[in-house]
Symmetry: C2
Subunit: 320 residues, 2 copies
């Protein structure tokens, strides 16, 4: 069991699901960079997924394309398998753990509190990146959202908590937030447990937490925070399915470029982001055209060698 | 033009659309009661609707069933018609105005600032009830939501304001709130104009405002308030369609039984509601069965006279 008194050191990536894998891969690119870029050794944990090797192959291909040195799949498929010390030991030289989407209750049931789960926590504490998408994001929290209905209005017994890995204390992480209309279920959990900070992560968006408290946002959507410390609610007495009273919650919607202090629950700042990948891509295309023109002007060039040349140029630009 | 310095006296009903018209008509029943019950004289204004007499007939039937004395339809179909003093004069002896759903820009275009629109405002100031559902709710506000996209995450230029009747100052009223996932568009308006209080009303739910500031909630859903006074946003500079920063908004989700002070923007209280119509109905059914059993035991009774008897009994119970 890792020592809970030592501060967490690694960066956490809570990704809201459906992160781009082919174009504008901002979220996964940021993950690989945080994991060490060309030195990244990433353990993909597909336990939550009902897909077999397919999901591993997708992430292996994306992480390799983004320049990671090594990608291994570690898939405990039962609590007994997750108790295998040999499996847990394979995390020792990884720079990152990435948990796929699927069913977070499978992660909670098979991993939390096992040798493998404890090894993930230890990996984080020694400074490695730990993250996941969808189910793999929710499991990071101490109190994990298990499931729930959709809809904007919070209702009694709309959602349930289970036990997560505890890498982010005092926070409950929901995902696919805007896309599946999950205000209601997040509010219902915070209404029942106002000490929790509710965090809803949109698709193709990551809540990136460093040093345990500094939240930054990457990607195309937003991270929504509901701070329930001062709220008044009737969640302790309302009838099942009745809409819940939630008065006085503080709401923060944070797009890319935002930074937020999770300890004081205040905005640190916002910069209108470099995130404008469209501008970057347009500039790159303009550069390509300019080079092409000058090269054609200088001498003949074959289409194949030009394409190779372009690929080299793009790769250089991306890693910068 | 009514005197803007005198306080508004009548009760406002902002209904979130799709209010029940056949069973459990809590919202429309509360409207008729506020309009004077058996003394209610209600002007139905179907201007927003693209349906013709059908929509009038629906409300005429429901209001009559709920005991209103008189229901008249007043339908200005252009700005010129709305300037007709004879039409405006017909509001003089009404105890309530009810605006149907449809397109609120039609109400803004045809009514706001006309003789008829001013007469609606004057009707409210002399103590009559003014309300509406869906489009008819949005038009009540000073700053009216004109249209917008759906989704939980606020985005730049997602929604637009137009000019409403001004019966509720400093508030923008959205409707079908939970059902159409409208957090984003309401937040985007409040982010642009943090002085506004954003009000999102669920379907089959009413925000009932008396004395200009006291909000009470009736119906099956909730009224969501977004208080932007202390928020930080980048709405003045963000790129079109980019998700918006909204940090530090105060959020209130108010189900039936809640009361809220719109002037101080604080919760007054909440009682776990009489709203449990199901319990009332079950009890009424049990009473019916008990009476039936005792009546059958005492003497023979014809089905017709029994049905009449039941109707009388139910009506008595409802108005109590």
């Amino acid at each position: 069991m890792p020592d809970p008194s030592s501060p967490p050191l690694g960066t956490l990536f809570a990704i809201g699901g459906a992160e781009a894998k082919l174009r504008r891969r901002e979220v996964l690119r940021a993950f690989v960079e945080a994991a060490g870029g060309a030195g990244a050794r990433i353990a993909v944990v597909p336990t939550a997924s009902s897909l077999g090797p397919e999901v591993v192959e997708v992430y292996r291909a994306v992480f390799a394309t983004l320049g990671a040195a090594e990608v291994v799949a570690l898939r405990p498929e039962s609590r007994a398998e997750a108790q295998d010390p040999a499996l847990a030991a394979r995390l020792a030289d990884m720079t990152a753990v990435f948990m796929t989407g699927g069913n977070q209750l499978k992660l909670s049931a098979f991993i939390t509190g096992t040798a493998f789960g404890d090894a993930v926590v230890a990996t984080h504490r020694r400074g490695a990146v730990v993250g996941g998408t969808s189910a793999g994001a929710s499991i990071l929290a101490e109190h994990m959202i298990a499931f729930g209905g959709s809809g904007s209005t919070p209702r009694q017994r709309m959602s349930q908590l289970s036990v997560g890995l505890g890498l982010l204390a005092g926070t409950v992480i929901d995902q696919h937030f805007a896309q599946r209309n999950r205000y209601g279920r997040l509010l219902s959990l915070v209404a029942q447990s106002p000490s929790l900070l509710g965090m809803g992560v949109d698709e193709d968006t990551a809540a990136v937490v460093s040093g345990g408290t500094r939240l930054e946002v990457v990607g195309r959507g937003a991270v929504t925070l509901v701070d329930g410390r001062h709220l008044v609610s009737n969640a302790w007495t309302a009838q099942p399915t009745a809409p819940l009273l939630v008065s006085g919650a503080a709401l923060h919607v944070l797009p890319a470029g935002s930074s937020f202090d999770l300890a004081t629950r205040t905005l640190i700042g916002h910069h209108t982001a470099v995130a404008d990948v469209e501008v970057q891509e347009t500039r790159a295309a303009e550069d390509d055209l300019r080079r092409l023109a000058s090269e054609i002007a200088a001498e003949g060039i074959s289409p194949t060698s030009y394409a190779r040349h372009l690929r080299r140029g793009r790769r250089g630009a991306q890693s910068g």
